[in-house]
């Protein structure tokens, strides 16, 4: 039964990481400057979840395999007066689509809930098994 708990916990952790990355994407959808103040639009991050747990070598559970930068095209906006505009007057904004991020957030939240349900079942079953001898 403790194995089942590890599996669900690994999924909770992976989904929390996903939520954090989604939050970062949404928060930075208008970020044009990097930490040094130079023009470097924020690039969307993507979380890749894979089965297994490399720390224990088990093939049950999940883990975050990679947090990759999304190399997709940035979104141009016509702002001729901006200091960051190119020769055609376009400023390139981060490739974050709020709708996509919201959908992903809902999915991550649903996964989280499902795993919490699994943990509740695990807890109850352990209790029930112990009651046989009590």
């Amino acid at each position: 039964m403790y194995g089942a708990l590890d599996i669900s916990t690994s999924a909770l952790v992976a989904n929390r990481v996903r939520m954090e990355v989604i939050s970062a994407n949404i928060a930075n959808q208008g970020t044009l400057l990097n930490a040094d103040g130079q023009y470097e639009p924020y690039q969307r991050r993507d979380v890749f979840i894979a089965p297994g747990d490399p720390t224990t070598g088990s093939n049950e559970g999940v883990h975050v395999a990679e947090i990759r930068l999304d190399e997709g095209p940035l979104r141009p906006r016509m702002e001729p007066g901006s200091p960051y505009a190119d020769e055609d007057g376009y400023v390139y904004y981060p490739n974050v689509d709020p709708v996509v991020e919201t959908m992903n957030a809902m999915e991550a939240s649903r996964s989280y809930e499902a795993n919490v349900m699994a943990i509740e079942a695990t807890k109850a079953m352990t209790s029930i098994a112990l009651e046989i001898i009590a």
Binding site: M1, P51, G61, V62, A121, M125
Partner: protein
């Protein structure tokens, strides 16, 4: 002699059912953990298959007066193998044909149903088992 005290009665059948449900819980939990994993396919062991295995062993034991109070002998299948104190379960992909954009065949409703059904089977077996042990204890201590 000690063994025959627990062999009489439905104790071994209930024990096997509890072992099965307990281990299947782990398989279902793993499916739920992988609900967002790209490329993952849901796995499970067949409940009907296990029930047929149980039924076969029960009938074989019942019909022969020599073995009627003996141990339960479960035949081995590709998915379930009986060891002395546990079952070895080998899950297989369920084989649903609906894939999402990330090549995952998740079915949350089905997973929740499996989780709940399995939990109920586990609890039922545990409670009947508890009752059996209580009765054995009652007979031993002569205290009704």
């Amino acid at each position: 002699m000690i063994k025959s005290v627990t062999n009489g009665g439905a104790v071994d059948v209930l024990e096997r059912l509890m072992q099965f449900a307990g281990q299947r819980h782990r398989i279902i939990t793993n499916n739920i953990a992988n609900i967002s994993t790209p490329g993952y396919r849901m796995q499970d062991v067949s409940v009907k298959g296990f029930q047929a295995q149980l039924q076969e062993a029960i009938d074989a034991r019942r019909n022969d007066p020599a073995t009627v109070d003996g141990p339960l002998e479960l035949r081995e299948t590709t998915q379930v193998r009986a060891e002395k104190d546990r079952l070895d379960l080998r899950p297989e992909p369920i084989g649903t044909n609906i894939l999402f954009h990330d090549q995952n065949d998740r079915d949350p409703e089905r997973l929740v149903q499996s989780l709940v059904e399995n939990f109920v089977a586990f609890r039922t077996a545990a409670q009947f088992l508890r009752k059996e042990y209580q009765l054995i204890n009652m007979a031993i201590t002569e205290r009704p």
